[in-house]
Amino acid sequence: MLPEEIRHRLETRIAASAHPRELVVDVMYELQNHYGFLNDVALREVAELLQLTPLEVEELATFYDFIYRRPVGRFVLHVCDGVVCWMFEEQSALDYICKLLGVAPGETTPDGQFTVLPTVCVGYCDHAPAMLINGKLYGPLTPEFIDRTLEELRSISCDLVLCR
């Protein structure tokens, strides 16, 4: 169940909007940040808030990389899959990360720390190859840099998956 405070805030915003449908991504984010990912309950709540059908929300939720329809780890590594990053393909960052964490793209490490997702261009081409972790950009990625970054992340606390 969505807390009354969040529900009220969203309902106020929706009521003030001339085209409530345009708020669908914002509402999905809000609920995702509350639940940790956009589960089926959350998806139906989004639909109800915006008077859409669950299908219409699902169409958008599954289109966007940053809406998670399945549980994710504490840190979500959006590894850039853009053209400029491809140019550094001889040391594929995605392959290295997957090998290092022992997961395939889209999977979460068994300890629940990291989820690896390839993502369309994150716009950090001047630091290619790049990735985005919980809303923060990292690059250029080298094996050493990746090792160090992941080691640091393991030791800090970050409760929410946050994407800006």
Binding site: L52, T53, P54, L55, E56, E58, E59, T62, F63
Partner: protein
């Protein structure tokens, strides 16, 4: 008018025509997947690439995205275009499964055809194919997502064109998935069209799955008989069973699509319990023997009690040929003129429509699509005639304002204004709305009679809220340029039909020339209306039977028991008959009660002509010979391998043939079998001369007078006044999309979709009666129980109890009372209610 050259052939096309359509006019079918004329172009699949060699556009372009222009020279066979298309098809085939031999689409698959014609025959891709789980989309449509080539046709039809919101496209890139949020039956009553428009086998016809290849079917052009719109179909039969129907394009009627009631309603033709054996006094008899005995008995009765002791009952599902033959037979045998409607209100409504509709007023479905204001009164489009809702949606998509004036909680797949008015208030509300509009638009063009009529119209309805809504809607009507009035016949009486015509005429004299669109009770109700002239209605016939004036009744393709309210009276009256002869293809109660029964032939076997609600005569061709479906005779074993007539192959003569046989037996100036049925037309039949000038069968002839001869704009205007007294509820019996119409309610998949029957009640009435949403209503009538769940809604007009005609309610439901007191409702829910609620005791 652009003039262009395609493949060295010249063509001139209207401005705005795309090159792909221009080529089609020349008979050149440019390959395409995403493009569908009614849905418009999106240029997504890249399959229709052609070379523009000269003119304003140059190079390789998508022919669906380029409008024809002067000076264009287009080559569809340019090597570069051919190579491009070959690569596209190879790419689309990368993930496509090699399941053509077991795919139901195989043989009429666009992807199959274009893979072959595109020259792709050898797979170079050796990687893994992407696969998907399929969904259960309900009993009508089978889902097989692996076959998808991502053309988007299904979503564009389902969401944009038809306006339903439970099927869409999810995911992105190689994960793209077309389906529902979760398993479940598709909500749209137009879902079957997905099967027709999918270029491959993602959506296939579920009831006919694995039964036959398209090329094995006996196929013919047919007409849908499940409402009065007369949508065009192609019916396919296999091994003596009708197994599949597809939509057939007719730009004058249904456009490109049909509804699911029409597509899947044909099961009645294949029923195991369909009567195939003629019977004489309850005993099986040969067809000729039974028919001869019928003739002999008719002669005896005529000799003993006079010719007028014999009466005839046809129906609104008779073909026009049958109706004409009935009229001819009863005229020449001096029997009573034929009746076609059991329900007197339907007969009078149809008579009013037939008298009033003329070509200055009549609109067809395509005209409604072009309207900028639609006023539907006494109509629940999705439930009464689903394709009407689809046409109205197209108008809504183009910006038309749509107002529905009805007691029911009408739901439509587009934005509209529902003005709730009780059944008795509909005519007055309609009059107020139009009066407002004409007054606002000005009465400059009106003559004295029109002004007098306008003045005689009521200016107010008692309900203040409704009055306000009517005023607002009147303003929209006054501001519109192409309005149309849609008038139903299922719940409202003949007064509404006449008033609608008067008001449309009134609007025509003013600045907002309106068109008029009626719905009728049955696929050939229009024909029945034309031929019932001079005959009185069925209830009076029943009186004559009771008094002994009528001793023989010949019933052709009708079941008086189907909906006649007073079943006991009907039963005892029919029991008094010396001869009840029934000719039908349905396992009806009347068929069982008949002294002499002759099995009939369905439209799929006999064919026939039908006049739709707009007066358009259309011909349904016979699809197959008929006989008992092989699956029922063979007990599931392999069909016979030898070329010999299999058991059960005797075909039933059509009603026309049976009546002709009877006419011969009765020695009535027998027309020959090969004479055109039009030669039997009575002289007062409108369009008789025109019909005779056309060879039989005639298709697509509009049988409307230029100007109706009926009296119009008569004053004073007599409108029925408001409904029953306070505390009483008018019981409205209404149609449902599925499960209520006489023929389609035999179809099992549609029964599944019909759901359980629900009674609807307004919240205020429920409060006063002390009943709650979800309670079970239980009527006990004549020892039989009628049970249905109560649903409380505030979207409907108060003062009504809405109960659907529903196959599961059975025959006892015909006898539901016309009026129920609110106070009674609590008793009907089966709960003890010693104390009446406060509100009722006060009133």
């Amino acid at each position: 008018m652009p003039y262009l050259i395609i493949d060295n052939r010249h063509i001139q096309v209207p401005r705005g025509t795309t090159v792909i359509d221009a080529a089609e006019r020349l008979g050149i079918m440019i390959p395409r997947f995403c493009y569908l004329k009614v849905l418009g172009a999106v240029g997504a699949c890249r399959m229709c690439a052609v070379m523009f060699e000269a003119g304003p556009v140059k190079g390789l372009q998508m022919s669906c995205m380029v409008q024809a222009a002067d000076g264009m020279r287009v080559s569809t066979t340019h090597p570069e275009a051919v190579a491009f298309r070959r690569q596209i098809i190879e790419w689309l085939m990368i993930n496509h499964p090699h399941d053509c031999p077991v795919c139901d689409e195989g043989g009429h698959c666009l992807l199959q055809d274009e893979t072959i014609s595109g020259g792709h025959s050898r797979r170079r891709y050796t990687g893994a194919k992407r696969t998907y789980p399929d969904q259960d989309l309900g009993p009508l449509v089978q889902h097989e997502m692996n076959r998808c080539i991502q053309c988007y046709r299904c979503v564009r039809f389902y969401q944009e064109y038809a306006g339903y919101r439970d099927l869409g496209v999810m995911g992105i890139a190689s994960r793209i998935y077309y389906g529902r949020f979760s398993d479940g039956a598709l909500e749209s009553p137009f879902s079957g069209n997905l099967i027709d428009i999918c270029p491959t086998g993602v959506y296939t016809d579920r009831p006919s799955r694995f039964l036959a290849r398209r090329w094995d079917l006996q196929r013919a052009d047919s007409i849908c008989l499940h409402c009065s719109l007369g949508c065009n179909t192609v019916a396919g039969a296999h091994y003596r069973a009708v197994i599949r129907q597809e939509s057939r394009e007719n730009v004058r009627v249904n456009g490109s699509f049909i509804c699911d009631r029409g597509r899947y309603g044909h099961a009645y033709a294949n029923l195991a319990e369909r009567p195939r054996q003629s019977r004489l006094d309850g005993e099986p008899a040969g067809w000729r023997e039974a028919a001869r005995e019928a003739a002999a008995r008719l002669k005896r009765i005529a000799a003993a009690a006079g010719h007028s002791a014999i009466a005839v009952l046809g129906s609104a599902r008779n073909s026009l040929e049958t109706q004409i033959m009935l009229r001819y037979l009863s005229h020449h045998a001096q029997w009573r003129p034929p009746r076609f409607f059991v329900n007197g209100s339907e007969a009078r409504s149809t008579a009013a429509v037939v008298a009033r509709l003329d070509s200055r007023l009549a609109a067809g479905l395509p005209d409604l699509e072009e309207a900028d204001f639609l006023l539907a009164v006494g109509v629940d489009p999705v439930n009464d005639a689903p394709m009407l809702a689809l046409a109205m949606r197209q108008a809504a998509r183009k910006g038309a304002k749509i107002v529905v004036l009805d007691p029911r909680p009408v739901e439509l797949p587009f934005a509209f204004d529902l003005l709730s008015a009780g059944l008795g208030d509909l005519p007055a509300a309609l009059a107020v709305l139009v009066k407002t509009a004409v007054s606002q638009a000005g009465t400059d063009g009106c003559e004295a009679q029109e002004k007098a009529f306008l003045a005689a119209l009521p200016g107010r309805v008692p309900d203040e809220k409704l009055q306000g809504q009517l005023g607002q809607a009147g303003g929209w009507l006054a501001a519109s340029r192409r309005p149309a009035i849609i008038c139903g016949s299922a719940i409202a009486g003949p007064e509404l039909a006449g008033l609608a015509a008067d008001l449309a005429l009134l609007l025509q004299t003013g600045k907002t020339p309106s068109r008029l669109f009626y719905l009728l009770p049955g696929p050939n109700a229009f024909g029945a209306g034309l031929l019932q002239r001079g005959s009185r209605y069925f209830p009076s016939l029943l009186q004559d039977i009771e008094k002994g004036g009528v001793r023989a009744l010949l019933v052709v393709e009708n079941d008086p028991f189907f909906r006649y309210p007073d079943q006991d009276r009907l039963h005892s009256a029919l029991g008094k008959l010396e001869l009840l002869m029934v000719l039908d293809y349905l396992p009806s109660r009347a068929a069982r009660a008949a002294h002499i029964f002759l099995p009939g032939a369905t439209v799929f076997e006999a064919g026939g002509s039908f006049i739709n609600n707009c007066g358009l005569l259309q011909y349904a061709a016979p699809v197959h010979e008929g006989g008992i479906p092989l699956a029922q005779v063979s007990g599931g074993s392999h069909p016979p391998r030898a070329h010999a007539p299999a058991p059960g192959s005797e075909k039933c003569p059509s009603a026309y043939e049976a009546l002709l046989f009877l006419a011969n037996e009765l020695a009535i100036r027998p027309p020959t079998m090969d004479a055109s049925p039009w030669s039997l037309l009575p002289e007062d039949f409108p369009g008789q001369a025109e019909l005779l000038a056309h060879p039989y069968p005639t298709d697509g002839l509009q049988l409307l007078p230029r100007l109706s001869e009926a009296e119009s704009l008569q004053t004073p205007v007599n409108l029925p006044t408001s409904g029953p007294a306070a505390g009483a509820l008018t019981v409205l019996r209404v149609e449902q999309t599925f499960g209520s119409e006489e023929l389609s309610c035999y179809a099992e998949p549609l029964r599944q979709l019909a759901g359980p029957p629900l009674a609807l009640l307004h919240g205020a009435d429920a409060d006063r009666a002390g009943v709650r949403d979800g309670e079970q209503l239980c009527f006990e009538i004549g020892g039989e129980k009628v049970e249905l769940a109560l649903q409380v809604t505030n979207r409907m007009a108060p003062g009504q109890l809405i109960i659907p005609h529903h196959y599961a309610l059975g025959r006892a439901a015909c006898r539901l009372p016309a009026v129920v007191a609110q106070a009674e409702l609590r008793g009907l829910t089966g709960q003890d209610s010693p104390d009446l609620p406060q509100a009722i005791t006060e009133s």
